[in-house]
């Protein structure tokens, strides 16, 4: 069984993000980290591949840099990684990203593609659905629990009120929510082995496609400052004022 997990390298979220003057694009440092969201996809992929005697391939698009983030995912146990890195992809939007990932995944071959639901730096939350459409396979999204065999996948799909049970044959695209499984820590051996695993870098020419940013950032505005809260001085009746406020907000 060929399982593919999409993983994105992102600037370390604990450091402040910087945008490029003019284009408004996110500046990506050489040392990017594995998006935490994707650890769930990798863990899910490892569990499914291990249970069904398969392999797990990582597919990523973006500047390779030191590939530190990809190695983090390889250290968890994935078998190999494919990175599409092409200068013309700078500023890629979600659809471009999905087209590139679809081409790389199609070339690799797959039975099940696993993604996160929303990346930490871009958080468009649409790449998985686009990927499924472009690959011409069903999409199962927002999975909070997953059962997969070599020819079928069944999930609990999170909804506003609870969950739907969704079943599909393979191949398919699956997006998993944070917490669907507990991502493992890499072992020291896993870390040392990661650099010996195949890490293939592809350009758009290698994939035989043309792509580039299809959207333009027309403006970037700082988020408005949070307004100061309202202070209620307690003259013995503060609790009444608080109750009234909570009622207005329909909390109670």
């Amino acid at each position: 069984m060929r399982v593919v997990a999409c993983v994105k390298q992102i600037p370390d979220p604990s450091t402040p993000y910087k945008l490029e003057e003019g284009t408004g694009w996110l500046l990506r440092p050489n040392d990017q980290v594995l998006d935490d969201t994707d650890r769930y996809g990798v863990e899910m992929g490892l569990q499914i591949a291990q249970a069904n005697g398969g392999t797990l391939t990582l597919v990523s698009m973006g500047p390779t840099g030191s590939a530190q983030g990809i190695r983090q995912a390889l250290a968890m146990g994935a078998d190999k990684a494919v990175i599409v890195d092409d200068a013309t992809l700078r500023g890629a939007d979600a659809l471009t990203t999905a087209r590139v990932l679809a081409a790389a995944i199609g070339k690799e071959g797959f039975d099940l593609v696993i993604t996160g639901t929303e990346s930490t730096d871009g958080y468009a939350g649409v790449v998985p659905q686009m990927l499924a459409e472009l690959l011409g396979v069903p999409s199962l999204t927002y999975a909070t629990s997953v059962e997969a065999s070599s020819d079928q996948v069944k999930i609990h799909r999170q909804t506003v009120t609870g969950y739907d049970v969704v079943t599909s044959g393979l191949p398919a695209v699956l997006s998993v929510t944070a917490g669907v499984v507990e991502p493992r820590y890499p072992t020291f051996k896993g870390i040392m082995d990661a650099k010996k695993k195949p890490l293939e870098t592809l350009t758009l020419a290698d994939l035989g496609i043309e792509a580039g940013p299809a959207q333009e950032v027309t403006g970037v505005n700082p988020a408005p400052e949070r307004e100061a809260g309202r202070k209620i001085e307690d003259d013995g009746s503060a609790h009444l004022a608080i109750i009234e406020l909570l009622e207005q907000k329909k909390v109670i």
Binding site: Q68, Y185, T187
Partner: protein, 380 residues
């Protein structure tokens, strides 16, 4: 901070340990400090991730990295805010296990290493005695030849992990007539051996999550197969292992310093007095800046020393410099960090209060500053 000594592999290991410390250790240390012990389950979890095989050669199932890897590993444990937790682990990995990996026989490695790597078997090292600490040659524990083995008598003092260890490496005099340097031997003594007991956990100023015990050896018999390395060579083994032990301890101390400085900077940037954050006070931010400069310099000395050891160099002078310098520096750093936390710095709920108590041992244990300075002086 980037360093020429830290390559991609070490950086990846550092990140993995940092994440583990943040998620599995930091949220629990308050409790372990109260119970006086790190749970066995944590040690086994670390074992399952290969943490205890960092220095173990690949042919024995480890990843076979060098002193510099111990420094990276210890540094992140030092950031846990619990010196007691860090030392529980480091005594096993960097103070005790090396006796087996460096000087043990293949048969002994096959017997004990697998358990030591999974964390099922926790180890300790017993050199110090009530009447001999800095002066290792003065130890009085004896081992007499008895059949196909040895009979041990004596008392070991201040032994970290003493009460929880499954295997303790004990230094004893095997030739009472020879100079200590030619008459000392290391024995592996297993928990439960008749006559071998640990007293109650000793109550300490800091390192509360660490078990420290007095060990009594009352006519304890161990077979020849428990002799580590060669008979009468123990003093050299102790001296050799001191080098690794001291840089691992000081690497952890650097981690403590950095964590304390980071926490203090964050605190004084938030805390307001006289109409502005304390950070606006030049006296405060400049003192912290100087401490940071000292810590950065000391960290590179520790890295450099580990690198020298990995090149097979004799680095006793540099190791002693690390021990003397960082042992004292960590006390100055934590003094300032408590100071700038004000009253909160004196409260049990504030991590720097614990760290202040924890760092006091850094200039005493594993070679007191004065002893280290004389080691440097001998080489000037």
């Amino acid at each position: 901070m980037k360093s020429i000594y830290i390559d991609e592999d070490l950086e990846a290991i550092r990140q993995a340990v940092a994440e583990f410390v943040e998620k599995e250790i930091v949220p629990n240390v308050d409790q372990w400090e109260r119970t006086g012990e790190v749970p066995r389950s944590l040690l086994e979890q670390m074992g399952s991730l290969g943490f205890f095989g960092l220095r173990v050669p690949e042919e024995h199932g480890g990843v076979g990295l060098g002193h510099i890897a111990s420094v990276v590993f210890a540094g992140e444990l030092g950031r846990s805010t619990s010196g007691g937790t860090a030392i529980t682990v480091l005594v096993h990995t960097d103070l005790a296990m090396p006796y087996l990996t460096r000087f043990g026989s293949e048969e002994q490695k096959a017997r004990w290493l697998p358990g030591m790597m999974t964390g099922e078997l926790i180890s300790a090292i017993g050199v110090t005695e009530p009447d001999a600490g800095s002066d290792v040659a003065a130890i009085r524990t004896t081992a007499r030849r008895d059949g196909e083995g040895w009979r041990l008598n004596g008392t070991k003092m201040f032994i970290t992990n003493g009460g929880i260890a499954d295997l303790v490496f004990i230094a004893a005099r095997t030739d009472p007539d020879a100079k200590a340097s030619r008459g000392m031997t290391i024995f592996a003594v297993e928990k439960g051996t008749e006559g071998f007991t640990a007293t109650r956990a000793l109550e300490k100023m800091g390192w509360h999550a660490s078990n420290t015990a007095e060990l009594v050896l009352d006519d304890v018999w161990v077979p020849d197969s428990n002799v580590i390395g060669e008979v009468n060579q123990g003093f050299y083994y102790v001296m050799a292992n001191f080098q690794n032990e001291r840089i691992a301890l000081m690497a952890a101390a650097i981690g403590e310093c950095q964590e304390a400085i980071d926490r203090t900077v964050a605190y004084v940037k938030e805390r307001r007095a006289f109409g502005a954050p304390l950070w606006e006070k030049q006296a405060i931010r400049q003192r912290l800046a100087m401490r940071q400069a000292e810590v950065d310099a000391a960290r590179q000395l520790v890295y450099h020393t580990a690198w020298l050891l990995d090149q097979g160099e004799d680095a006793v002078r540099e190791v002693s410099e690390c021990k003397a310098l960082v042992g004292e520096l960590s006390n100055r750093v934590l003094y300032d960090c408590v100071q700038f936390h004000g009253g909160m710095g004196y409260m049990r709920e504030t991590p720097v209060e614990r760290m202040y108590r924890d760092v006091r041992i850094n200039s005493i244990g594993g070679g007191a500053t004065e002893v280290m300075l004389d080691e440097i002086a001998k080489r000037l």
